[in-house]
Subunit: 365 residues, 4 copies
């Protein structure tokens, strides 16, 4: 049987890994059990790398391996740029094999998988869709999950395009999907999300094509959250769901907010793990919440329920993604009385346009 | 008897006054009845002046008076800087004397009053507190309100300090409260809020002093929202409450969110006008909501319920007020399913530190 | 003979037109002579409209005509967004017919011309190129300029695309150059610049095509500065050069800075009007400078002479145009000891990529 | 005799230390000789720590010592936040003892010194002034400089105040200069600059007092550049000048630009190291320039030579320091044809208000 631990810890700055270090030093976490870290880092884009470096340094000392070995072993998803009431923090997942009886209900399971190294010309294409789909299926297997309904959150970090990678493709007579890096990365994220959707049966393979990527918004996954990073060469998959092979004290659920004001959708996510957020949440239930991951979509348009916003037009419109995350963090945070919840921004086939995907992990009662 | 009308209208840009113009042209609003305009304008600080100029121009044509006469006659409170899901709009209040029987319950009433012209050295002092207190009492009388419990929202626009006004004070051998304009204006807003608190019996006169302004945060009003503008020479008061002299189709209520996540406080505001926002609001109730005015306080600190935020420390911290407004707009907007609600930022004695004040105007059932 | 006056006046804010008003009131400017206003306005994009409205209001009073008539009569080019040492100001051009002998050398002349109303589907196409080219030739004629070498600055304000205009084109079965407004406007500015280049013989008609617009950067004008505004329906041309039909006290010259550090190019512009900016400029020469208009290009790339900049990559990269203007303003301002010089940003066929175009107007010795 | 090397190297990102690593790996730099690193880092404030960590990591490997030992041994001054044409880079100083004849003229020398650990209540007070003054004198001695005229640049990194440090002071019954961190740090930087001025005889001790710090702007150093960092507990001094004990291939000079447009002052700095920047600089001279350090002052006011700027008032005014650095970088960069020059912002007693201090290091002809 698999036991999965969840530790949500605050950061005092992008390089602050002291809370995890303390848990390791006190023997509460065995660093060999750490299988993934998902962080909400403050600061600008560079702070993500800073944070990752701080984790690698500390863990290389604790594990007695090199920083590169830490990097290969533990996927670290750093979600940068905070605003509003967002609170910098990270969630550490541990996993280990244990003996013992199945708890009688499905519990939190985690699967980790990398695709093969992708070529720059494959980014944002059906080749990426298929590789991600295959890796997601393998990650399900790794997690001991047999039914797609039990998958509630798939985080994908895929390689980002760079000038160097364009040159590499061209040197081999190949073309990348776009020389515009922003557009190319958008398609790479979209292809990753469609890969998740394909693996989980949310879309049919015959509806997919290179042309459909970042074009046919009717195709999407309701549990994918994808981002691109130039430090990656392959897609790294962290898949979360419930499995009858797990004895974890936690379980996970999810819900779709069809737009940013759809609190009914958010409440459904919590309901699915036994937490009632009707009028107000009770203290006991709030304490059971171990982690919340939201994929925000408010920056997909400049409208919300027929009202015009200034998200895409005002002098801060370059930071629309930060505002999208800040408002969904505030709304869901207000429902559960805690804003230490993770929000990432990304609209490419991650739910219908303008939707927000909510995954909630809670301690079993 | 007094009849008070409420018209909440969208803007396509800071200078877009076309919706009001259309209502006037169609005869639905008699421009002579317009007694106040409160707007949530997009753009930067200058857009407030742009918007005010656009209203003055249009109304001077409709009323056949000069722009200066429009300015003297109709208080226009322009709340600038939007973010997130905030939707630029304005609320027009009309008022006229009518015959007819009292409706049997108190209804929406509005009172307008200016203080005398204040001297620059009086800004941010007890002199301002007392003048505002007097004007608030007169505005209550103007509104036909006899009990302070019936006052739910007092908007105050007070004069802002300028280099020229400092020089004027000094030429008369006087000193202003601070040569730092930001600090001086903060005190002016604080003095205005304490003036409201004094008039409404929320603080005792003996607890007030120059030293207490922007210092003793235990003193505050739960219904004041104040801002400063260099175009003002006196304080303009727009007071909203319920009166048995009103036959308006609307009534107003208010509530205090003790912090930004306190949705119970927000719900109380709506409850007080007969709107139940328990689990979810029903369509009928949503349609009854005519206007919502919130004074936001999330930027008072870098913490929320023990969680650290990056509001005061990150690279966008210069825009903390915008984020404070965006998050409260999102939270209350999600509760009622509509983000065309007004949010202003201001912590100086406007509720306890970090609180949000919510006033809701609804059509009577 | 034509007499052309040049008045460079400071602004205390976007709506401050008091300096011009004072000159009119003192009889130094006859408002009927005003033929164009070019302003460097502070604030965000909306401040441009605010400023234009303030000019229209004041001039409608002085001229006894409606605001719409002012708008039709006097082209107002509002260049928004300032940074660094840029100083908000505007330049008023006056023009009137006078008798009297030619001064023996060519002097400052100004020509004003609008194209016909353009259809949305024509924006950014050869149709626009040709209409602008025709209007530029007419503006030359209007200015009494017969040789293209005598044209030193052509400011073009062309119509910007809007959602409404796209819909209009589609309702007639037509397609606009791009549904992406930023891309469409970039092409509209490029087409305008190529129109200038065509009229002045800087490019050959056979090298031009729809495909070349914003694509073949080897084609450009060295005297064009173009911008797009949604308030326009036709292209407005303000052309400045020297003519033997002018008795103005001013003349104009221009130069190309091949990159932002090319101060030799800037000095050539001043040299061409008899001002020596070698090691340092002398006070007398500085005082002769009446106006400087620069089209900035530093934001075309993230490099300068082999050095990497963070113009396109850092957390303020959304404001790259402001930084491009701020640095060229600082460099040329330092050369002449005055930063009240106008900088606009625009790389589309306005000089070679990364170049800065400098036009200088000086009083004749 | 002392030999001092200067290596100015580009960075591809805050963590890019590859150019230095390559020089070490190729044997061109012996890491044991590295005595100081001064970097211009891109990104936000956190990127400074990221960059420092990257240097410490690499150098701990090359030197075979711990990261803490690197930190103690090599002062690293990270100047963060770039804009305009500023190009991220770092300058590495090496120093070693060599035999050999004196070159017959004074050459570049470097002195490094830390003050004792300062108590939080000493920050921004005369205690700090005196400790810095003492350390500057010791750094002069360390550099083999006997005359204050030979000192051209003193970089000081002093401890910044934190909430924790305020609490520490209070726990001992002491008060810090201000509980407002920004104000306290401003005074700490001012005290550091006055410490330099005192050591170099630029101010008299009897004119100094706690009250004069950040108040009497007539007191200043023309060669000090100071910054505060919460990672410091003592003040670190890097002093650069010319010494007859040095056989370096470089020498250093300096100049004061009395305001940001004073290019004569900038040229004087280059002239003092034998580089003529009259009309234009020649290629040979440009290549001799090894490093330029500027302390920018344009953000001290909202005016430049009687012209109003929007530096302190516009919607980007929170980034005034970045604009101040961008414009001085552009102006001096244009003079020498290279913008890979370091600009820091700081007005507190670092030259007269609004001045810019320029230090230039050049290879001896």
């Amino acid at each position: 049987m698999m036991d999965v631990g969840v530790y949500r810890l605050p950061m005092a700055g992008p390089d602050d890994v002291s809370e995890l270090e303390a848990l390791i030093d006190r023997g509460e976490i065995d660093p060999k059990d750490i299988c993934a870290i998902i962080a909400q880092t403050e600061g600008d884009g560079y702070a993500r790398g800073y944070s990752a470096l701080a984790f690698q340094l500390m863990l290389s000392e604790k594990l007695g391996i090199t920083r590169e070995e830490v990097w290969d072993r533990i996927p670290m998803l750093m979600i940068g740029l905070t605003g509003g009431l967002m609170s910098p923090h990270y969630t550490v997942f541990t996993r280990r094999e244990v003996d013992g009886p199945a708890p009688g209900e499905k519990r939190l399971a985690i699967g980790i998988k990398d695709t093969r190294v992708l070529l720059p010309e494959e980014y944002g294409t059906m080749a990426q869709v298929r590789e991600v789909a295959r890796a997601v299926k393998e990650a399900m297997e790794d997690a001991g999950i047999t039914s797609v309904e039990d998958v509630h959150c798939v985080e994908v970090k895929c390689p980002g395009l760079t000038a160097k990678r364009i040159a590499d493709a061209e040197s081999r007579g190949k073309r990348v999907v776009s020389n515009n890096l922003a557009e190319a990365n958008s398609k790479a994220k979209g292809a990753s999300a469609l890969g998740v959707a394909l693996a989980l049966g949310e879309v049919k393979e015959e509806d997919l094509s290179d042309a459909a990527i970042c074009n046919d918004w009717g195709l999407y996954s309701n549990v994918a959250s994808t981002s691109a990073g130039t430090e990656q060469v392959a897609c790294r998959i962290v898949l979360l769901g419930n499995s009858d092979k797990s004895v974890s004290k936690y379980k996970i659920g999810s819900g779709v907010m069809k737009d940013t004001l759809d609190i009914t959708g958010a409440k459904a996510a919590f309901k699915s793990v036994g937490i009632d957020v009707g009028d107000t949440i009770c203290d006991e239930d709030r304490k059971r919440i171990a982690a919340v991951f939201i994929n925000a979509g408010a920056d997909a348009t400049g409208y919300i329920r027929g009202r015009r916003t200034t998200m895409k037009s005002d002098f801060l419109s370059g930071y629309a993604g930060i505002f999208a995350k800040a408002v969904i963090n505030a709304i869901v945070g207000a429902l559960i009385g805690d804003t230490m919840i993770l929000a990432s921004a990304g609209y490419e086939h991650q739910g219908p346009l303008g939707a927000n995907l909510v995954a909630a992990i809670a301690k079993v009662e």
